[in-house]
């Protein structure tokens, strides 16, 4: 390796490491602050490691957000499952049963993925009030499923499009109908797509703030991110509790991301429509 090459390689690594430090910095601060006792929350020693591991911040935060953590789980898991299932059916139709106007319809679906929710919030609240689902977790699950229709249809459509049409035609000859093909041919080989979509939906529903805030804001029923904002917004100076609450809120998606990062990447790329 020439000397010049050595230096330029070194510079690349240095820049990358600097970027990584920047991306990790907020996590570092959350961790060390969350592990400090209240007396140790001195602004001049913010960057110092805690003198030991003190769990009082985490315990206090857990006491306050545990019900909301449970709410989020009870909302996110069913919503992610149901919307993935709906997405696989829609994706199947869009990919394998094209009909006149189906592509236009698909684009109209996608538009829904991009529009800001502020443009539909008031009718949404009114409708939920009319059908008696306002302020109920079931209502929030339903809303997440509906708003998940575009992205899940997109992800499944691109997966099913990659499956050769010959397979579908052969099954037709074997006597499989519309539902039969879905049930016996496509569904059994859909697991990779399900994994990507479930992961994507899980993350975005868990991390949602706006819809949870609007549809389910009562402190007892609210999802975790609403609860964390309530703690942070109360201008309390218990930074250790705030940081611990934020860490608790982030934990499920962090674990999922670290365990299934590759799938996450695939979702990211497909989610931008260009994967």
């Amino acid at each position: 390796m020439s000397l010049q090459r050595f230096w330029s390689r070194g510079a690349i690594y240095l820049v990358l490491i600097a970027f990584c430090l920047f991306y990790l910095m907020p996590f570092y601060v959350m961790f060390i602050t969350g592990l400090k006792p209240y007396e140790d929350l001195n602004v001049t020693r913010m960057w110092d490691l805690p003198k030991g591991i003190y769990l009082e911040g985490i315990i206090e935060a857990w006491k306050r957000v545990a019900p909301n953590f449970r709410n989020s789980a009870m909302i996110t898991i069913p919503a992610a499952l149901i919307s993935s299932f709906i997405g696989s059916m829609n994706g199947y139709v869009f990919a394998k049963w094209r009909f006149p106007g189906s592509d236009t319809l698909f684009v109209l679906f996608l538009v829904g993925m991009f529009l800001p929710y502020q443009g539909i919030l008031i009718p949404l609240v009114r409708t939920l009030q009319i059908v008696g689902l306002y302020g109920s977790p079931v209502g929030l699950i339903m809303v997440h499923c509906i708003f998940g229709i575009p992205i899940t249809a997109l992800l499944f459509r691109s997966y099913y499009a990659s499956i050769p049409n010959e397979l579908i035609d052969a099954s037709k000859i074997d006597g499989c109908g519309f539902l039969g093909i879905y049930r016996y041919v496509l569904l059994p080989i859909s697991m990779p797509a399900f994994a990507v979509v479930l992961l994507w939906q899980f993350t975005s529903i868990w991390n949602d703030y706006l819809i949870g805030l609007v549809v389910l804001s009562s402190p007892r029923l609210a999802p975790i991110n609403v609860a964390v904002q309530n703690i942070a917004g109360s201008w309390s100076v218990e930074w250790n509790v705030q940081m611990s609450a934020a860490l608790i809120a982030a934990l499920p998606t962090i674990v999922v991301y670290l365990a299934l990062g590759k799938l996450f990447m695939r979702g990211l790329l497909a989610g931008s429509l260009k994967g």
């Binding site: 690349i12 109209l108 991009f114 443009g119 575009p150 904002q229 809120a249 998606t253």
Partner: protein, 277 residues
């Protein structure tokens, strides 16, 4: 099988948008639902509103700050990672990591980092840069730009992933051919790779643009004084659910939809075009 979804999308997205548009033309500005038609009165009132002017100014600043950070750093990191780096997977994981956490978590962490008396300011002092002192999100003029730092922290990894996938899609032959023609590294990127990655840049512009229009959770948690960090989304939320001025909220919401269409329509057009090829 598709029909329930079609109905759901038709009602919950398109129907609701039209409904919002309708609400913006009536006099429903108290808790009591009022359907008296007032034409464009809400719109005129909105356009004259000081707060709305702040929102537009903040949108412009936010979009410029957020987009440029995401695109410049996203591209730069992707290019660096594309140099056959050892431990690429680890670097990639760390850069995308923030995207896995919510806007609220991001906001809580950055609010601490942006406390004037501690946080990053203290870090500057520790590094011997005593002259670096910022008010961050509390700055009466540029507070909104500080928020874009937190926003870009979260979203750059996504843009980086898009660029990295794009770079991987450029074949070695293209690079080799350019080198044979005597192009140096700089010229290779400027003349060949950046133009080839235009579709990715376009995607990144649309996605970060949408993110700029709808930013809500970060400005809730990192709010600065008065309207210095106010956004359309926050304005809509407060008008509607704080002041019960539903028609005003609907007007802001519908305005946001109109703005987004400027980004969404060309984007989906380009997609369709690509699909037809």
């Amino acid at each position: 099988m598709l029909i329930p979804s079609i109905i759901a999308v038709a009602v919950f997205i398109y129907g609701f948008i039209i409904w919002t548009g309708y609400i913006s033309t009536v006099k429903w500005n108290t808790v009591v639902e009022d359907h008296t038609f007032v034409g464009l009165q809400n719109w005129i009132q909105l356009f004259k509103m000081d707060r709305f002017h702040w929102d537009l100014r903040n949108l412009a600043l936010y979009a410029v700050g957020f987009m440029s950070q995401c695109i410049v750093f996203g591209f730069l990191i992707a290019v660096l990672l594309d140099q056959k780096i050892k431990g690429e997977a680890l670097f990639r994981t760390i850069v995308i990591f923030p995207f896995a956490v919510s806007g609220i978590v991001t906001g809580v962490a950055w609010r601490w980092l942006m406390q004037p008396t501690t946080g990053i300011n203290l870090l500057f002092v520790k590094m011997g840069l005593e002259n670096f002192y910022f008010e961050w999100n509390a700055h009466p003029k540029w507070g909104i730009l500080a928020i874009t730092i937190a926003a870009a922290w979260q979203f750059t990894g996504y843009v980086m992933a898009l660029y990295l996938a794009g770079l991987r899609g450029i074949s070695e032959e293209v690079r080799e051919a350019a080198r044979v023609d005597g192009a140096g590294t700089w010229a290779l990127y400027r003349r060949i790779i950046i133009p080839l990655l235009m579709p990715v840049t376009f995607t990144a512009i649309v996605l970060t643009g949408m993110g700029s229009i709808r930013v809500f959770d970060l400005v809730t948690i990192l709010a600065g004084p008065a309207f210095t960090t106010d956004t359309l989304a926050f304005h809509m939320y407060q008008s509607t659910f704080g002041q019960y001025r539903f028609s005003m909220g609907a007007t802001v919401g519908f305005f946001m939809i109109l703005l987004s269409l400027f980004l969404v329509v060309p984007y989906l057009r380009s997609m369709q075009f690509e699909a037809e090829r």
